[in-house]
Assembly symmetry: C3
Amino acid sequence: MTIITILDLLGTFVFAISGSLVARNREFDIFGALVVAFATALGGGTIRDLLIGVAPVGWMLDAKYLVAVIAGVGVAAFFSTILLKLRKTLFLFDTIGIGIFTLIGIQKALAQGLSPGVALMMGIVSAVFGGVVRDILCNEVPLIFRKEIYATACLAGGTIYLVGIHLGVNNTVAMVACMLLIIGIRLISVMKKIALPKI
Amino acid sequence: MTIITILDLLGTFVFAISGSLVARNREFDIFGALVVAFATALGGGTIRDLLIGVAPVGWMLDAKYLVAVIAGVGVAAFFSTILLKLRKTLFLFDTIGIGIFTLIGIQKALAQGLSPGVALMMGIVSAVFGGVVRDILCNEVPLIFRKEIYATACLAGGTIYLVGIHLGVNNTVAMVACMLLIIGIRLISVMKKIALPKI
Amino acid sequence: MTIITILDLLGTFVFAISGSLVARNREFDIFGALVVAFATALGGGTIRDLLIGVAPVGWMLDAKYLVAVIAGVGVAAFFSTILLKLRKTLFLFDTIGIGIFTLIGIQKALAQGLSPGVALMMGIVSAVFGGVVRDILCNEVPLIFRKEIYATACLAGGTIYLVGIHLGVNNTVAMVACMLLIIGIRLISVMKKIALPKI
């Protein structure tokens, strides 16, 4: 496994935990928790794959992603007190997940021959639409429409990456720059409680 | 028409009736009832086909499914008093529909070369996601996240089927075993009011 | 650009404005407004493309559609007082948009080799499901399930078009008849406050 696959699985696992915790707050049963965890962790990538014409969608061909989701639900079900103590670690992994999902989304869209602008959109979709699907399944207005510089961080990081590779920067360097920017913007915006202006 | 097609159409028809009755409770107009009936009856199979890469989706190529949905809406609109008397019959056909949808979902996924685990998921998606789409369209938290051993019945029945064909059991025998298990679990769980534990 | 493309882009632009105004009423941030505008303007066509097996979906291959959506959001954000004065013009363009979306949906489905009945459905999906997705994103029961002869206008116009080309009528004539019928039905139904009967 490459470092990207490992981070991707880690992001999937942490997103599944966060989805499960939402399901627990709603008093869903185990099936509901699995669906919500699944949607949170793999929903963004699924929508991206459908839109760009990749089917069967990615996670169907690699059982590791299903294992990561089920492991996330299991951890959320049995180790909730430990999770409370690890909140900062989880937040960090969650942010790493967003960065990786953005990068993978961009790369998959470019590999389909789509334009950089559309690839950037697909990066953002990969990172944030899992949360949108989660909120719709829970019958709530998607959180991301109201709060936090979340999609903006993906937009900035993805743009850096695309500009980087366009200028011939080494791919790994461009990826690291993208990740650092996404993580940095998200950390700062959460610490300083910055949000996007309303329309 | 094979017996499977007939049961599939019967399931589609009964799901369309149940979707129409939900639309009626919400005071939707005829167009809304058609959409909700459609989503309930064919939504699960549509999502499955999109995820596994079958498009145009199945019902587009066989007008019988559209006819079954429209017939279900018509029956729900004009014969509601009779339907009340037939409640137990409808429940039975609904349960048969779930069993058939599970089987067809599994078989279609296997035919796409997907793994048994993913095929099992696609069987469950075929059977229960029509109801999830219906509840989202009606702006409600999906019922199935909170109540009834519904997906669990599909999981058990689908597992029996997959284990059966893996062990070389005759396909028809494995299908009958799957159907009986799904119908049996659902009947018992409704009679005894068993539900999945909360997460 | 053909006249059809121009009308299609105009429809996309006006649908994006209407989506943005809904997002503004919900106090969404700019990202939320972009997503809702996008879903309203391009959601119907996206669902159609996925169902009939066209991926990457249409707007990914033509940047003009993205520009039309972003322009719509910009206009909604900065010129809201002017928009209030132009309400009747916007309503007219919105209705033109519905007509064009219906026609394009039918033509794309026919080009995929689908039956006239399914093509008619895909025309209606193209025209009205953007609004359904918008309402789901805003956590509301889709407006169209309760109000206005909207889908019915598309049904009537689409039927005229299909009957026309079946009878060998010139394609342009059939398209104009379709547009006029959709615009006419919608105008009359809004003026006379006609709605579909409830189920």
